[in-house]
Symmetry: C2
């Protein structure tokens, strides 16, 4: 089955008390993922906006960077991330992600449940 | 944890007797996905190349189109797919995907196990 962008859920959401709203283009919902994952989405973070810091227990979140540049807070260490990078956070670790550039930061996010 | 492209597995593989090789940039492996998924990868299909037709039972494969244009064979129906489209195949359905354009076709593929 093919679904076009306009047929799927798009939303703007403040994520974990980050700065401003993050745009989500959901790729599949939790039911479609057999309840083994709770998010599979294309995220667009505009300049100056961020996903606030939070931890992941009993699940792992993957950010696959598609476009732009971000400041990724990786369980206590700041790392600048670029297209092609994978940021994996689970097992009680924390992360945040901020767009400190002047262009949109785009990524695919997947949260796999344990 | 952040991993750069050069630290991860890249491979060129003939997929289900398709035309030529498809380039895979793996995002996470099956262990990292808690064995609930068996593929999470960025695929690049060059012009004229394809993923051959095959079915998915007890699992669903998602193609999230990032760049280019492809001819998606959707369980008997041909559909031209573009960036932003999601192709989902499971429950015994078949699919194939061919790059009939003159530019690379790029997508994120996820195979979720039931």
């Amino acid at each position: 089955m093919v679904t076009r962008l306009e047929d799927r859920v798009e939303r703007d959401q403040c994520v974990r008390n980050g700065n401003g709203l993050v745009h989500f283009k959901d790729i599949a919902n939790q039911d479609e993922l057999y309840n083994h994952a709770r998010l599979f989405s294309h995220l667009v973070i505009e300049p100056g906006r961020s996903i606030g810091e939070h931890t992941h227990e009993h699940e792992t979140e993957f950010f696959y960077i598609l476009k732009g540049e971000g400041l990724f807070h990786d369980n206590g260490t700041d790392v600048t991330v670029y297209p092609g990078d994978v940021c994996a956070t689970g097992y009680g670790a924390s992360h945040s992600l901020e767009n400190v550039s002047d262009k949109p930061l785009e990524l695919v996010a997947l949260i796999m449940l344990e």
